[in-house]
């Protein structure tokens, strides 16, 4: 008895648990389904669009990754002096001072891509069926419900007019199917069913772009070097990492060894007696990325538009050196970078090397035509070939100008109008002297017709290079192409369906046309009207 009871209780319990489990499972399903629906919804897309836009607005008002003082200044202008520090604290805590790298903005982008993926997964099967579904003849009353409807009465029997109708259908670019009806025929056709994919191609290329970005972040690097004229370097700096003097020394000695082997990491690690991987790891910690080769700046130059301070061209003459050999030479400029082994060097800035003296390069031509190139230090001297005239470099100005009294002034630290002051002597006696400007050849002409051309002050400037390796960029480019294609299809092409019934009516023929287009109905309507004109013309010719 007791046993039976226990069995019953057990069975009852089991049924109860099973029931509860199913109920729970059902509810679960409902919850997951609801989440799925939410993630696939257009509403969520709109919410994400708004959130990204609104937060991005704040991100453009505040300066990103800037000194706090700069943003406090901006906030002072907006909120007044008393509120600014508090507001700054709030926006900083919320990550707005570096918002494009904040966790919540990344989260928004993740949500955005989830939305795109789930929405596509949700809709694609249905759309795919719609695309693959062959068009079938429809019932007479269904033609009446089509978006575009036309009716024409033509003289003659359907059998006679069939050719005219199919000709008109072909003329507007359709391949048709045909079926027999009891009093005539029906023709049915569709075009551009695959254009329904345009939206999804666009959506998926956004995902592809994000994948490209991720690949770039994970497997690439972005760094910079300020390369002085004449120097070469085997590595680039990724970011400034605070280092102890000891670490700094260690870094520099590694870089020196690396440079001695022209960037060859394997040979440098052998020399240093550590493993190649360990060496790379160490450099990474110091915020340095080895290139695997060396890059040298042979020269840097800024050209200006005539008589102005507007730069025309920045040029860096770069050489790539591997195992002591120059393997590549290129003059790069803005919009014209150097690429080698997947690493790209962009012209991005330039400047003066503090404390550098450099070499003055002069081209001296005597009035008889004898030419010599001179490399001189500050204070150095030279003779004009074939004469006893000696020139001495007495002064230099990177940006020479003259004030109202005619006195020489230097108006900038940058090499905007470089000039040397040269004193000429003959037989120990001063002959004449003057400023010779790099940008003005006439200033280098002496009374006797000798010419001293100031070619360059070499070795005092550095070129600032942005250096990048981005294996993901090709994915981004590919995605750009597919996105353009997707947009083109989505906005400028459509899916059109057409049904034409040719029915006998009292010895004549009535043609019923029904058509639908998922977009740009007006254009399709014009095509249909063209078809009717063709039919009427055929009818006229027949008679």
């Amino acid at each position: 008895m007791n046993n039976v009871c226990i069995i019953w209780v057990k069975i009852y319990l089991a049924i109860f648990l099973l029931k509860e489990f199913f109920k729970l499972a059902q509810e679960r399903k409902a919850i997951t389904e609801r989440i799925w629906e939410l993630l696939a919804s257009v509403k969520l897309a709109i919410v994400i669009f708004s959130l990204i836009s609104l937060t991005a607005v704040i991100g453009t008002v505040l300066e990103q990754r800037a000194e706090p003082a700069r943003n406090i200044l901006i906030l002072t202008r907006l909120f007044g002096e008393t509120a600014a520090p508090t507001v700054y604290k709030i926006v900083e805590r919320l990550g707005f001072t570096d918002m494009y790298h904040s966790w919540w903005f990344t989260g928004l982008l993740v949500l955005f891509s989830t939305n795109i993926v789930i929405c596509s997964l949700d809709r694609l099967p249905r759309i795919w069926r719609l695309i693959r579904e062959p068009i079938k003849p429809i019932k007479a009353e269904h033609i009446e419900t089509a978006g575009i409807r036309r009716e024409v009465l033509l003289k003659g029997k359907p059998e006679k007019l069939k050719g005219a109708v199919t000709g008109a259908i072909k003329a507007i670019g359709f391949n048709y199917g045909e079926s027999k009806e009891d009093k005539g025929y029906q023709f049915y056709c569709q075009r551009g069913n695959y254009t329904r994919l345009g939206v999804y191609i666009t959506h998926l290329s956004i995902i592809l772009i994000l994948i490209g970005v991720l690949v770039g972040i994970s497997f690439g690097f972005k760094g910079y070097i300020n390369l002085p004229e004449g120097r070469s370097y085997p590595a680039v700096f990724l970011q400034s990492v605070p280092l102890t003097p000891q670490e700094e020394q260690d870094r520099d000695s590694i870089l020196n060894t690396l440079e001695a082997f022209w960037g060859n990491i394997f040979r440098a690690s052998e020399q240093l007696g550590i493993k190649e991987e360990a060496l790379k790891e160490k450099l990474k910690r110091y915020g340095v990325e080895p290139l695997g080769f060396s890059v040298r700046c042979d020269d840097f130059d800024v050209e200006f538009y005539d008589n102005s301070q507007m730069p025309k061209r920045y040029t860096s003459w770069l050489s790539v050196i591997e195992d002591g050999k120059e393997v590549l030479k290129k003059a790069i400029g803005v919009n014209d970078p150097l690429r080698y082994k997947g690493i790209t060097f962009y012209q991005s800035s330039y400047g003066m090397i503090p404390g550098a003296s450099g070499w003055f390069i002069l081209k001296v031509t005597s009035n008889t035509g004898a030419t010599e190139i001179k490399r001189l230090n500050f204070g150095g001297s030279f003779t004009i070939p074939g004469t006893d005239i000696e020139g001495v470099i007495k002064d230099f100005s990177p940006a020479l100008s003259f004030d109202k009294q005619g006195r020489a002034i230097t108006f900038s630290e940058m090499m905007i109008n470089p000039a040397v002051f040269i004193e000429f002597r003959e037989g120990g006696k001063q002959k004449y002297s003057g400023w010779i400007m790099k940008r003005n050849l006439l200033t280098g002409r002496t009374p006797e017709g000798h010419e001293v051309q100031f070619i360059d002050l070499w070795g005092v400037q550095y070129t600032g290079l942005q250096v990048r390796r981005d294996p993901g960029v090709w994915i981004v480019y590919l995605a750009s192409v597919t996105m353009s294609l997707g947009l083109l299809i989505a906005f400028f092409m459509n899916h059109r369906k057409l049904w034409v019934r040719v029915v006998e009516e009292k010895g004549n023929t009535r043609v019923y046309i029904g058509a639908v287009a998922n977009k740009n109905r007006a254009a399709f309507e014009r095509k249909i009207d063209k078809m009717i004109i063709l039919l009427r013309k055929a009818e006229g010719e027949d008679r």
Partner: protein, 361 residues
């Protein structure tokens, strides 16, 4: 003859066309309509001529390739091109929809914009290109961006007209939205006109904005002027709110249905959006990649074009939702164009960034 003569002709033509279009609206005479269109077309052709001549002048001066000498490198040239696109877009609509009513609105905008560009002392000199702009991408990127801006401008005006037609009660949110938006636009234009009249300065627009903009009104040193400006702003908005229904009656006389306006709004955006995506965002990114080594760096210009892109993506997706169809998305179209204006002018003039070559160095 140089390009400025032709610019003068087109300015005059647009202003005359405006008068004829208004006459046409009053009398509905077909011949008057044809004359209005002819004058607009003359203005358009003359402007085309002027742009081509300036292109040639630039080409001869710069000594760079023909593709790199596009006259689209400063605010003056870009605004002229914008007006050109706007008129082109209008003419297309006139032919497609066989409706001349918009002419009375578009030609004054074009004529006044050209006149404003002329008197504002915007630098008309042909300036050589700085190294960053010396690229073949310049032509594709800038022309496509401005074609899309013009398409968005059209969608803004038809969107606003749609809202005006659709709002019946003065307490309706739609009605308040459009009167407020129009009020703000008119107030800002008036405030700028007052600035011009008060200071009588002809300086570069960047300098004007930095040192004179709204200094005669909202940013005046005297507190009274500032208060008066705000009160007047409120008054203008109130007046538009009070007499907004009159504007509605005028637009109703255009013989253009709200549905057609909605369609034109959509079509303009459907044309503008892909062109903006390809020419503005994608070509811009590729160019940035070639020049600076990053295809996306979140600089304000890039970010604002992305914001614009998202707003119009909002419009396109909003049309799929029941609650947003009609008035909802029309509001988005109107808001979208303010984002366009900010991308075009606001970023260069107010925010800093890599793109701010138009600003002060």
């Amino acid at each position: 003859m140089n390009s400025s003569v032709f610019f003068g002709i087109s300015t005059m033509a647009y202003i005359i066309a405006m008068i004829i279009y208004i006459t046409y609206l009053a009398f509905r005479n077909r011949n008057i309509g044809i004359i209005a269109t002819t004058v607009t077309v003359i203005g358009f052709l003359s402007q085309t001529m002027a742009i081509l001549m300036r292109w040639k002048e630039f080409y001869e001066i710069s000594g760079m390739g023909i593709l790199r000498s596009v006259p689209l490198t400063n605010l003056y040239e870009s605004m002229i091109f914008f007006v050109w696109c706007l008129i082109l877009g209008y003419l297309v609509i006139e032919f497609r929809y066989k409706n001349r009513s918009f002419g009375a609105f578009v030609t004054p905008v074009a004529g006044l914009a050209l006149a404003f560009i002329n008197i504002s002392g915007m630098s008309k000199e042909i300036q050589p290109l700085i190294p960053a702009l010396q690229s073949n991408w310049l032509l594709a990127h800038v022309t496509m961006s401005f074609i899309s801006y013009a398409a968005f401008a059209l969608s803004f005006s038809t969107g606003l007209m749609y809202l005006i037609l659709k709002a019946d009660k003065k307490t309706q949110a739609t009605y308040i939205f459009w009167t407020f938006t129009l009020g703000i636009f008119i107030t800002l234009l008036l405030a700028m006109a007052i600035d011009f009249l008060t200071f009588k300065v002809a300086v570069k627009p960047e300098v004007f904005i930095k040192s004179y903009l709204f200094k005669a009104s909202f940013l005046n040193s005297s507190v009274t002027t500032r208060i008066v400006s705000w009160v007047l702003t409120a008054a203008i908005i109130l007046i538009i709110w009070r007499f907004g229904t009159t504007l509605k009656t005028i637009i109703e006389r255009f013989n253009i249905s709200a549905e057609t306006l909605d369609e034109i709004t959509y079509k303009s955006i459907a044309i503008g959006f892909p062109i903006f995506t390809l020419g503005g965002l994608i070509f811009g990114a590729i160019w940035a990649d070639q020049a600076w080594g990053t295809y996306w760096s979140w600089d304000p210009k890039e970010t604002w074009s992305l914001i614009t892109w998202f707003v119009y993506a909002f419009y396109l997706h909003g049309r799929l939702l029941r609650g947003w169809r009609g008035k909802g998305v029309a509001i988005v179209a109107v808001v979208g164009f303010t984002a366009v204006i900010f991308t075009y002018l606001g970023v260069n003039l107010l925010l800093s960034g890599l793109h701010a070559y138009g600003g002060i160095e």
